[in-house]
């Protein structure tokens, strides 16, 4: 760990005297630990009864990071992860994500395991060393002969409960750098074990943001502008203020809130609310059909900014045997987490408590500070289990609503979104138009060139968070101005990496490559959608490479292998998935199978999809998946994440599409934003490989399973029908 013990003590507001027994965690009320005990650092606490508490710095949204990070701690302290008391971290700099800018306390980008793999093991190993040193002194033993075993210090044949040594261990100066367990001694890392959250998530006791409840809590619904970004000009709130159970009707930043004793009182009254809106331009005049045409015109009228320019693309095209071109389209998408957005706030003159499930509790704390006059140590964020994240819960819009309502009404309030609210007020995956060109020379791609047209995600995120991020440094408002200035700079002067990531990178063997970007943005707000730019770039890249393979008359897997260059992880997963799926035999039997591969978040994934075409319906019946993310902490969890990524991507591939009519999002619920159900879920086979050895950088698990599935299915449809589907969602044009 970078942070020294002295720094942590300072952080916790304690003197630097040796005594840490019985001290409390930062924002202690947010975390339930034993009454007494040893606060080793911000993450680990051991009490005299032997209960080990791990304060989990990342958000658990289904990806299994709670199990994964607990396993790291468990390994160095040799205790079953299921025996550890895991608590969600409060908002505090101690729990920042070292891989995020400014150490932001957020979870995303498939970074969590890489971010904590060294640090948490080091923290636990240090605790082990101090415990054993204390025990050695107490037992008059050589520390070298003592070991830890499931909550006991083992000395010869004797087992001593480790809680007995807590007080003495706390007085020992922390050693500088303790050796970590060698991989050969791993008992928990790399092994399969039931997830530690499996019990509470199977008996209904797992607590999500929407489950928070207490005496005096009021419920609120917000009627928002049908076009996102519109502001309420006037409303007939007085007419419904006397309705049963209604406590307040008030305009807030993005709509009109109805606060009532119960949710149905609020919903019932809100259905009679009439609001006049100030609509945002130019979004209000945007229709999806026209948007698609306008984007194509923008693409045709500009070469765009250069993001990649390698080799000599022009010469390669001039000397090519053949040039192929194709255009691919990916629509806007919603996240549609199972738990709709919600937030609970209780506010008093000197304290604000926020309960929600969010990927960025660090941002929430700062959002609250921009809205009410409180300091960080007066703002308590109680992060709950997230009923799905997928990138949606990185913003704090729902928090801002609840805090504004609580501030204006003086009531403790829970804002609950309907499914339609959630679908129509998302931060969407950007629509993208990708035009690929390839130069084929002697059966190989000698040049690959792509132009992506569409809006940038990052300016929307920056615009929202800059005020929050700078609250400690700048007056409120200045940060927002800087955010918009930064957004302008991103749009005008540079290329947003999330707009172009993944468009060509995997094929190092193609020596001449170029990527250009044309920004076109009608103003629909955007966010991070599981795998971000890779969610569309993989579709373009892997559809096009398949087209190139067919044009060159080469087997699609062989063609990909021939253009990888130095890309050992991808080579390994392509070879694995060919074996796993029995690719060559199925191809020779003309089965409807397609391949796609894509690297994202340091993880290489290759997938083979098998389809059945019934009339104009595409059914995906089986998927084979090979992934290389280096060392795997829990294979069951990672395999589940690959399955999860595939199903998530499959829903988007077959049905996912958010469209606009006069700027309003058309889709509202699962009837018109269809997602995969049990009967549509293919049989999925996952295998994990590690081609680059134990010391290779860890790859992510939560997102990399998503990008390859859409092109794998499209390529299988081509194998079955000789029809290239170049638009998502995949559908045959009506005859």
């Amino acid at each position: 760990m970078d942070t020294t013990r002295r720094d942590l003590l300072k952080l916790m507001g304690l003197s630097t005297a040796g005594l840490v027994v019985g001290c409390t965690l930062p924002s202690a009320s947010a975390v339930a630990v034993g009454q007494d005990g040893w606060q080793h650092d911000a993450f680990l606490h051991l009490d005299s009864t032997g209960l080990l508490t791990f304060v989990m710095p990342r958000a658990e949204m289904g990806q299994g990071i709670s199990h994964g990070l607990t396993t790291l701690v468990a390994e160095e302290l040799t205790i079953d992860p299921a025996k550890i008391n895991v608590q969600q971290a409060p908002a505090d700099a101690a729990y920042g994500n070292p891989l995020f800018p400014g150490n932001l306390q957020g979870t995303g980008g498939s970074t969590s395991m890489l971010a904590h793999f060294e640090g948490l093991r080091q923290a636990a190993a240090t605790m082990r060393s101090m415990l054993l040193t204390a025990a050695a002194s107490d037992l008059a033993a050589d520390p070298g002969v003592l070991t830890l075993e499931e909550g006991y210090v083992v000395f010869g044949h004797d087992h001593h409960p480790w809680g007995r040594f807590v007080a003495a261990a706390a007085d020992i100066p922390a050693p500088e750098k303790v050796p970590l367990k060698p991989a050969s001694e791993y008992r928990y890392i790399g092994m399969r074990s039931p997830r530690i959250d499996a019990v509470e998530k199977s008996v209904g006791t797992a607590k999500f943001g929407i489950d928070v409840d207490f005496e005096g809590l009021h419920r609120a619904v917000v009627v928002r502008c049908p076009v996102i970004g519109g502001k309420p000009e006037s409303h007939n709130g007085e007419a419904i203020a006397q309705a049963p159970g209604v406590r307040a009707v008030l305009a807030i930043y993005d709509g009109v809130a109805v606060v009532a004793d119960t949710l149905w009182h609020a919903k019932s009254a809100a259905s009679k609310l009439e609001v006049n809106w100030e609509y945002p331009e130019p979004l209000r005049t945007t229709d999806s059909v026209k948007l698609r045409v306008d984007m194509a015109i923008a693409a045709a009228n500009s070469a765009g900014k250069t993001a990649v320019d390698e080799g000599d693309v022009d010469t390669a095209f001039e000397s090519a045997d053949a040039v192929i071109e194709a255009e691919y389209w990916a629509p806007y998408l919603a996240h549609a987490t199972m738990e709709p957005m919600n937030c609970t706030v209780r506010l008093s003159a000197d304290r604000c408590d926020v309960w929600t499930g969010n990927q960025a509790p660090g941002l929430i704390q700062k959002t609250v500070m921009t809205l009410v006059d409180l300091s960080a140590d007066q703002v308590f964020i109680h992060n709950q289990y997230l009923g799905g994240g997928f990138g949606r819960r990185t913003t704090t819009d729902m928090v801002q609503e609840a805090v504004e309502i609580a501030k204006e009404t003086g009531l403790a309030v829970q804002v609950v979104w309907s499914r339609e609210d959630d679908m129509r007020n998302d931060y969407y995956r950007p629509a993208s138009l990708m035009r690929y060109r390839g130069a084929i020379t002697q059966g190989s791609l000698s040049a690959l060139s792509v132009q992506r047209t569409g809006p940038n995600i990052m300016p929307y995120f920056l615009g929202e968070v800059m005020d929050d991020m700078t609250i400690d440094l700048l007056p409120a408002g200045v940060g927002r101005f800087l955010g918009s200035a930064g957004s302008w700079l991103l749009n005008a002067a540079t290329v947003d990496d999330s707009s172009v990531e993944g468009l060509v990178e995997d094929y190092h063997g193609v020596t001449s490559r170029s990527v250009h970007h044309v920004r076109y943005d009608p103003g629909l707000r955007l966010g991070f959608w599981r795998s971000v730019g890779h969610s569309f770039s993989a579709f373009g890249k892997e559809s096009f490479i398949d087209e190139a393979a067919y044009a060159a008359g080469v087997d699609p897997i062989a063609f990909r292998l021939a253009h990888l260059g130095d890309n050992p992880r991808m080579r390994a997963v392509l070879e694995q998935v060919a074996m796993l799926s029995d690719w060559n035999n199925r191809r020779s039997r003309n089965e409807a199978i397609g391949i796609a591969c894509h690297t994202s978040f340091n993880t290489a994934v290759a997938q083979v999809a098998k389809v059945e075409i019934l009339g104009d319906q595409i059914a995906v019946t089986e998927v084979w998946c090979a992934a290389d993310l280096g060392l795997v902490v829990n294979p069951s969890v990672v395999e589940s994440q690959m399955q999860s990524g595939i199903i998530f991507g499959l829903s988007a591939a077959l049905w996912g599409e958010i469209t606009l009519r006069q700027g309003e999002v058309v889709q509202g619920n699962f009837n018109d934003y269809r997602v995969a159900r049990m009967r549509e879920a293919p049989k999925i086979h996952v295998t994990l490989v590690n081609a680059t050895g134990a010391d290779a950088p860890l790859g992510g698990a939560g997102e990399p399973g998503t990008p390859p599935i859409a092109p794998a299915v499209a390529n299988a449809v081509f194998a079955a029908t000789s029809t290239r589907l170049r638009e998502l969602p995949l559908k045959f044009l009506q005859a």
């Binding site: 959250d197 499996a198 209904g204 009923g387 399955q643 879920a681």
Partner: protein, 160 residues
């Protein structure tokens, strides 16, 4: 006054009978295991057993369960004593985010009570009303089959 049986106990609630049962159970009776997902009977997160049938309670007026038998996830078992289906969910680590799983377990419980040895088609038919955005379908199928094959005697014992 609305009266019905909830997890084996008779409850009486003074609330409008046109309010969906889900909100009565969650916000009046305080059982939070059943979830709100869509408000339109499309996703199954709110499923409860009503006289043994897996039912979408986000669109069911509470008055409709007057005098009937309602079982929620809390009524199936507990962390100390999970039901066979819950036990299978735990052993196979089915849950990811976990939000939909109460509804999934309710639907699987209803299926197995009616058909102790369901094939893939029966599982598809019974479980396709429950959406999981984490894509745990394959684990759900495995867990259901593990109960069907190994623990079906226990199931019929519990049902009797």
């Amino acid at each position: 006054m609305l009266e019905f049986t909830l997890n084996g106990t008779t409850v009486a609630v003074d609330a409008p009978t046109d309010v969906p049962l889900l909100w009565i159970v969650r916000d009046v009776l305080g059982l939070k295991g059943s979830k709100f997902g869509c408000g339109a009977g499309l996703c199954g997160a709110c499923s409860m057993l009503i006289d043994g049938e897996s039912t979408r309670t986000c669109i069911l007026p509470a008055g409709a369960v007057s005098g009937r038998d309602v079982v929620t996830i809390e009524g199936l078992g507990s962390s100390d004593k999970p039901s066979p289906v819950q036990q299978a969910w735990i052993e196979h680590s089915v849950a990811q985010c976990g939000y939909c799983q109460s509804g999934q377990i309710i639907s699987a419980t209803a299926l197995l009570a009616q058909n102790p040895d369901p094939d893939d088609a029966a599982i598809d038919a019974a479980m396709s009303g429950n959406i999981c955005r984490c894509g745990t379908y394959s684990a759900i199928r495995t867990a259901i089959k593990s109960v069907a094959v190994s623990a079906s005697p226990n199931m019929s014992e519990e049902a009797s």
